[in-house]
């Protein structure tokens, strides 16, 4: 990345401003303001205001009209947890053992819990044991977005990803009551002590906010596929199988997800609720 004179001066200027702001802020003893800014210092916040996030390369970003995922359940290797591990590592999801305070973006459920009401006692043997990957469905009509009183959760217009603004969330948990898939987690306590190894590329959260899968919006912006999909490709390749998680543009007739949807019988979770999920299952 070439830094020309003009750009150098701009960055240097802002940095100076930031550096100067820090002692000024300290002198005013406004630590509480730093905390209000979500754990950043005043100077850091000023820098962020004028600075593009690192790693953002316009032109290289993966874009779509409507991102969707197909879960080909039979390709899921036994006992494999690669998708969850990758996702939670990349997104600084804390590892809290108490199920009451647990935070999870993607995880495995049994068939009867993934598709409640669909189970019956004479069901195919493999369905009883197969783990089903569940995550936020990035609904076309997301109830969580409908109920949020601050627009802290919103559907991105460009590609339909249902996202969270952790800095705006007031922690009312209305979205958790509204989500018919149990996809949302709340930070019942400070999550940071429960993160084994922090990924500096992605923010950690504070206590008191809701979080969930973001379809790796931050990776798509850098031209990378979602972490779970990437991990799944590697894990299934070792077993000589096709990947269980496939990601792509639902509006592109040639995309891999559309090809799979064309050639397989697929189901979605609770379609009768009209949420129009963007995660499909090949059972």
């Amino acid at each position: 990345m070439g830094v020309n004179r003009r750009k150098f001066l701009k960055i240097a200027g802002i940095s100076t401003l930031g550096v100067a702001a820090k002692p000024a802020a300290d002198a005013l003893a406004i630590e509480w303001l730093d905390k209000k800014l979500g754990g950043f210092t005043v100077s850091e916040t000023l820098l962020h205001m004028f600075h593009k996030p690192t790693g953002f390369k316009p032109g290289e970003a993966l874009t779509a009209e409507r991102w969707a995922m197909v879960v080909n359940v039979k390709n899921c290797p036994e006992g494999c947890n690669a998708c969850r591990e990758a996702c939670h590592r990349v997104h600084n999801v804390p590892d809290i053992e108490n199920p009451k305070h647990e935070i999870k973006w993607i995880w495995h459920e049994e068939y009867e819990h993934t598709f409640p009401g669909q189970q019956h006692e004479h069901i195919e043997e493999h369905l009883k044991e197969t783990p089903f990957v569940v995550l936020c469905n990035h609904c076309f009509n997301p109830p969580c977005v409908r109920v949020c009183p601050t627009k802290a959760t919103f559907k991105r217009k460009t590609d339909g990803i249902v996202m969270m603004d952790m800095h705006r969330c007031i922690g009312c948990r209305f979205c958790m009551a509204a989500c018919p898939y149990g996809s949302r987690s709340f930070n019942w306590k400070d999550p940071r002590p429960f993160i084994k190894e922090q990924n500096p590329e992605f923010p950690t959260r504070t206590k008191g906010v809701v979080e969930k899968c973001n379809f790796c919006a931050e990776r798509l912006a850098k031209g990378q596929i979602p972490a779970c999909v990437e991990a799944c490709q590697e894990a299934t390749k070792k077993k000589g199988r096709e990947p269980a998680l496939v990601f792509g543009d639902l509006e592109d007739p040639d995309s891999e997800v559309r090809q799979l949807l064309r050639s397989h019988y697929t189901v979605r979770r609770k379609p009768e609720l009209g949420t129009n999920p963007n995660v499909y299952y090949i059972v």
Binding site: A177, A178, K189, G208
Partner: protein, 385 residues
């Protein structure tokens, strides 16, 4: 007029000091919660609303119940209620204040509460609930204060106050309707997804609210020189009777639809509440206590001779309060989360700090109520003297 709230006897101050003690304990517990996060409560990923929102929901009803006194007096010119409208309106003020406090203590990020106003979101029912609750608080303080000021001067309430009074009637209905909509519009929560929710909320509100008002009338009559009046209490007890009958009737309607249709999702929560589901029976004793008191209250209220005896009426009103509080708070709010959307069952038990915070909010409400009642009753006593 405000100074009259400070001119109380020894008993008044002992009572207020007791309330302050609970408020203090609640506040300290809240500071602990503020530092540690909501993890100190019994709430969880599956039961994401607990006793705070349960009490909030119940108290919105109590607040709305003021309309049961205001409407007969101002619309139907039922003169007897003129004596107690101020008691109903001030009960509304205290109840809405508690509602707002319960919302505040339930927030994961209370310092960001103003985001609801800074980023107004009309598609969110919670946004509208904020609007109607604050509006109702304003209306009741404004109307109550002006009516009392006029009464003190021996004049009727000023004419320009009438539009506000008439506005407060549909507004009272709106606060509980909007609160019901918080629940009744969520897909995938079968127990809440029912068109009759707002009607159920209103019926239980018009039972529990006036029941509380009757109890307060008894206390006022015993502890002060002001008598709210026998006819007033009789009429209120009639309102409680009809509302409680409707409340139980509406609940039975829910049971019919769930069990005759035999749709599992519609039955699960009711079964969980009254019999337990897959061995989980945490709320079963609560619900049977609620059912027991509902039946007791109905018997005592419906039999005219029983209802007309003050002592029996007091027992009936306490029964209504217990039945409605458990049904609406514990059963409706917490039950609605069980089973969770993936049909797992997590149960909920409130923790000690959570209960202390809850008691602190109730104490704050009673503190405000006692202060306002002291003012209103002193004015009324002076007029009589």
């Amino acid at each position: 007029m405000l100074e009259k709230g400070f001119l109380g006897g020894r008993k008044y101050w002992i009572w207020m000091a007791c309330l302050l003690l609970f408020m203090g304990a609640g506040f300290i517990s809240w500071l602990f919660q503020f530092r540690e996060g909501l993890g100190i409560t019994g709430m969880s990923r599956d039961i994401s609303w607990g006793v705070y929102i349960a009490n909030f929901t119940f108290l919105v009803g109590v607040a709305a119940a003021a309309v049961m006194v205001v409407l007969p007096y101002y619309v139907h010119h039922y003169k007897a209620f003129g004596r107690i409208t101020i008691l109903a309106e001030f009960l509304g003020v205290a109840a809405v204040t508690m509602c707002l406090l319960f919302i505040l203590v339930d927030l994961g990020n209370p310092v960001r509460a103003l985001n609801v106003i800074l980023h107004p979101t009309p598609n969110s029912i919670l946004f509208w609930d904020m609007v109607v609750l604050n509006g109702y608080l304003f209306l009741n303080i404004f109307i109550g204060w002006n009516v009392l000021t006029a009464e003190r001067k021996g004049s009727p309430p000023p004419g320009w106050l009438k539009p506000f009074i008439y506005l407060s009637i549909p507004w009272a209905i709106s606060i509980h309707t909007v609160t019901a909509f918080l629940y009744a519009g969520l897909p995938g929560r079968h127990f809440w997804l029912t068109a009759i929710m707002a009607a159920r909320f209103l019926s239980s509100a018009f039972a529990a609210g006036p029941a509380m008002l009757i109890l307060f009338c008894f206390i006022v009559r015993k502890t002060t020189k002001f008598n709210p009046g026998n006819e007033q209490i009789r009429t209120l007890s009639g309102i409680v009777t009809y509302a409680m009958i409707l409340n139980v009737f509406f609940f039975l309607l829910e049971c019919f639809t769930a069990f005759y249709s035999n749709i599992p999702g519609h039955m699960h929560t009711i079964v969980y509440l009254f019999r337990g589901l897959h061995g989980h029976t945490g709320l079963v004793p609560w619900m049977w206590v609620s059912a027991f008191f509902a039946v007791v209250s109905l018997v005592l209220l419906i039999v005219p001779a029983a209802r007309r005896a003050d002592d029996v009426l007091a027992v009936a009103c306490v029964s209504v309060f217990i039945a409605c509080w458990i049904d609406k708070g514990v059963g409706l709010v917490i039950g609605g989360f069980i089973p969770n959307p993936l049909e797992h069952i997590t149960e909920y038990v409130a923790t000690v700090p959570e209960v202390l915070i809850t008691l602190g909010v109730w104490a704050t409400g009673f503190f405000i109520l006692s202060f306002l009642y002291k003012i209103a009753i002193t004015v009324k006593e002076e007029l009589r003297a």
